[in-house]
């Protein structure tokens, strides 16, 4: 069963491939969407009453925030260190953990689906995908990576059962990807895809590497040791992959 939901300022596509009665699948999708809307209410920087905005305005101390928000802020701090400062929840000067929240909320949604017995599904939130199990006809999920110049083509097709694929690129938002160190638009890489176990990390790594520019290439190469593979296209059209990228055959 498939479903498309507009939430968190983006579009989320959900497919459940489990062989179960429609009513059960429908209820699982409803619960997933309810969770994503809850995350939006609590973490959006566009909703003045959200927990993040209350922390931003110092109406709420981090120590008094929800366990979820404290977890998110801790993860952002870890990522700031692990990315040499290129993943920065304060990149614009004000607290904005959105770059982590989207991947994390989908990661949680997928884990909840699994708890409820859905072993085969994917959730695609704005191009960042968490998947488990098999596609409806059997076999690993086949995921195309959008070609950075031809929107109707893919550069790679990856095949995996369980894991996350996140892509960040400058082709969609242009100069909106900012190098937090120089406060200037990121240059050098046009598209960065990271594949790994956790969508929040894959997404953050892709964003950080994009901000790094070409020095993101060797940085990404080192992530492979932790199981995060990558596929990159530079501004001048060169393509790079790490050795164990799960390309489909």
């Amino acid at each position: 069963m498939r479903h498309v939901e507009h939430v968190m300022g983006t579009t989320v596509s959900i497919e459940l491939a489990d062989d179960r009665p429609d009513a059960e699948l429908r209820s699982l999708i409803d619960e997933t969407c309810a969770w994503l809307h809850e995350v939006d209410q609590r973490f959006s920087t566009y909703k003045p009453g959200s927990e993040v905005m209350r922390v931003r305005r110092r109406e709420l101390a981090v120590d008094d925030a929800s366990a979820d928000l404290r977890w998110v802020l801790g993860a952002c701090a870890d990522l700031w260190r692990d990315t040499d400062g290129y993943f920065d929840a304060y990149a614009g000067g004000l607290l904005d953990p959105s770059g982590y929240v989207k991947g994390w909320s989908v990661e949680v949604a997928s884990a909840r689906l699994l708890e409820r017995g859905s072993t085969s599904h994917y959730i695609n939130a704005g191009g960042d995908i968490r998947m488990r199990g098999e596609h409806p006809d059997g076999g690993p999920w086949r995921v195309g990576i959008r070609h950075p110049w031809e929107a109707d083509k893919v550069s790679w097709v990856l095949a995996l059962h369980d894991g996350a694929i996140a892509t960040s690129g400058t082709y969609e938002r242009g100069d909106h990807v900012i190098n937090p160190r120089t406060r200037t638009p990121a240059r050098g890489l046009r598209s960065v895809t990271v594949v790994g176990a956790d969508l929040a990390l894959a997404d953050a790594y892709a964003t950080a590497a994009l901000a790094m520019g070409e020095s993101g290439l060797p940085w990404l190469a080192k992530r492979a040791a932790d199981g995060y593979e990558s596929a990159v296209v530079t501004d001048d059209g060169r393509a790079f992959t790490t050795t164990n990228l799960p390309a489909a055959v």
Binding site: S13, G127, V143, A151, V157, S191, A239
Partner: protein, 168 residues
């Protein structure tokens, strides 16, 4: 013969010292150990020998090689300097060369960029990224599409939206 071997070692040591000095100009974030340069170039070398002298490039290399140590053993290697195929990567070109003297590998070296960050990030990084040709395939056989689709507007124009519409 001894003199030519010594000359080769002298050349290599000089090159290695330059590498060592340049590497130390900018303290790298990650520890950069001067590696055996030949490890960087896979098996692209057109010259036969595939087992370069290992160990630190900043040390004096040892001309002595096992198995072909005796002059009586006929060496499969011709004397001369052999350059491997130049290999391009985002940070410049890497090229490996060896010098064979009296049928033995007397010296080996690799050129790679020595400016700025490249000098510090190049050696550990190249081994695990490979360059390939960017291809544009049709998305006939995919279940989902990953891309930088940040907004609902960009979703509408995306392949994922087309997939969702087709399967709805």
């Amino acid at each position: 013969m001894r003199r030519s071997t010594a000359a080769a070692i002298g050349t290599l040591t000089g090159a290695a010292l330059i590498v060592g000095v340049r590497l130390s100009v900018q303290p790298p974030a990650a520890p950069v150990v001067a590696q055996a340069p030949l490890d960087l170039a896979d098996s692209d070398t057109s010259a036969k020998p595939s087992a370069p002298p290992s160990g630190s490039a900043s040390k004096k290399p040892e001309a002595k090689k096992p198995a072909v140590d005796k002059e009586a053993v006929k060496s499969p290697f011709k004397d001369g300097v052999f350059k491997g195929k130049a290999s391009n990567n985002p940070y410049g070109t890497i090229q490996v060369s060896i010098r064979v003297t009296d049928g033995k590998i007397a010296a080996a070296s690799a050129t790679f960029p020595l400016t700025g960050d490249s000098a510090t990030i190049n050696p550990p990084a190249i081994a695990s990224l490979k360059q390939e040709t960017l291809t544009a395939k049709t998305a006939d056989d995919v279940n989902a599409v990953s891309g930088a689709t940040y907004t609902s507007k960009s979703y509408k124009e995306s392949l994922q939206a087309a997939l969702d519409a087709a399967k709805a």
